[in-house]
């Protein structure tokens, strides 16, 4: 055997992937050839420092990650998502066309929110006027909420509560003086909320909650897809979406209707 022939199969030799005949020939050559024996030793040294094939990067990702990755692929395939911010732009565009008729209300409320974030709850009267028409259509559905077990109500209520906390945090995030905000917590919470949303969607929901959960899911996916740090342009986009969709207000309404401690849904909201 030539040196080069031996050296080209040293990897296979080490991994027991040669036929008996080849294996014997290589072993014989190695016993007699210092140069090839050195190559074998060198190869073993290199392989010892390389990552072992048994530990694969995919193992570091959880089930939620694969789910959302597959979702993103399917969305790309349907052409709904040209880029990471695609869905959101569509959402924002849709809202903008709605907002165009009532700029005074929404922009002033939005500007206030940009500064005050959590104050959304105290600005409720300002929000109610523009949103009322849209919400009114849903009033009949409100009365038709299918009574389900307390446990499932609790779960939905928890989901809304967690979503609200996350979105309030995003709305309040001070981005101006922090060039390197760490978004890893937001990402991981968003991922678990996307997961939860999908579980909730498998059970009976009233129309309004179902739509809200779908809208929230889009935002959570955007949040889950943020870069760990330094993704401030996308954070801004998401914040404006939260404001323009009046999401915090909608969550509050929906959460109230699922609050298991309340016997009357309509009393609580209106």
């Amino acid at each position: 055997m030539r040196h080069s022939d031996v050296q080209n199969v040293l990897y296979d030799f080490l991994h027991n992937e040669l036929s008996d005949a080849d294996r014997n020939a290589v072993a014989q050559h190695l016993a007699a050839c210092r140069q090839c024996a050195d190559e074998l030793a060198g190869l073993q040294k290199t392989l010892a420092v390389l990552p072992h094939p048994s530990s694969q990067p995919a193992d570091e990702r959880d089930a939620m990650f694969w789910h959302s990755l597959a979702m993103n692929v399917q969305r790309d395939i349907r052409g709904e998502r040209k880029s990471r911010t695609g869905v959101f732009s569509a959402l924002v565009d849709r809202v903008r066309s709605f907002v165009a008729f009532r700029p005074a209300y929404v922009y002033s409320a939005g500007a206030a929110l940009a500064v005050m974030g959590i104050a959304v709850f105290f600005f409720r009267p300002q929000f109610e006027a523009p949103i009322h028409v849209a919400e009114k259509e849903d009033m009949s559905e409100e009365a038709r909420i299918i009574p389900t077990a307390n446990e499932s109500h609790q779960r939905i209520s928890d989901y809304f509560r967690k979503s609200k906390t996350l979105l309030v945090g995003i709305a309040n995030m001070r981005t101006e003086d922090e060039p390197n905000i760490d978004l890893s917590d937001e990402r991981s919470v968003s991922r678990s909320l996307v997961h939860e949303a999908r579980l909730l969607q498998q059970q009976p929901l009233d129309g309004r909650s179902a739509r809200l959960i779908r809208d929230l899911e889009k935002i959570m996916i955007e949040l889950a897809n943020l870069e760990e740090t330094n993704d401030l342009p996308n954070v801004e986009l998401i914040r404006s979406g939260i404001r323009q969709e009046n999401l915090l207000f909608k969550i509050r309404m929906a959460a109230a209707s699922y609050d298991t401690s309340q016997s009357s849904v309509t009393d609580r909201i209106y």
Binding site: N8, L43, V49, Q56, A58, A70
Partner: protein, 195 residues
Amino acid sequence: MAAAEQPVPPARERGEQQLIQHATKGDGEAFRLLMDRYIRHAYNIAYRFTGDHDSAEDVTQEAFVKVHAALPSFRGDAEFSTWLHRIVVNVALTRKRLDKNRVQRHVPLEEVRGGVECDHHEEIVVKEQQAYIEQALHELPTLQRAVVILRHLNGLSTRQVSDILQCSEGTVKTHLFRGLKKMRSKLEHLQEELA
């Protein structure tokens, strides 16, 4: 989605050939099952080529969109997995080329050391080692790098690698040996630099 009134068995129970046929005809569930089957393999390959999770995610996503678009052209004369992996490799290599024009992806070793604010010596050593290996790997000529990644880091057979890269098995073996040898000298060089 619309599986309820279909007489065919649920996609879950169909073989790969059937999944491919149905996916080609636009059956989203069948494509989803194919994805479930291969997405982790694809991700592992993408990660080894790009060197980080975010890029691996992007490459995997883009590759599966391409796979879907190219399904009608899949003739079945290669294994589906081979064909799919070839697309992943191509997307990863294209992205790598684009990245080169962007920023230097690899953090200088001094920063790796300085950036770790902890007393855990072992952790620092592991990080440094990973950085060496990444760097050595990414400095290899493209084909050598591809062979080392697919054959060693992804654990594919010589035959599979030769099918994916469309070269002979002999070429795979030669490039594997040369690539690993080059890595060894690079790693030794880097280790001396640090000492």
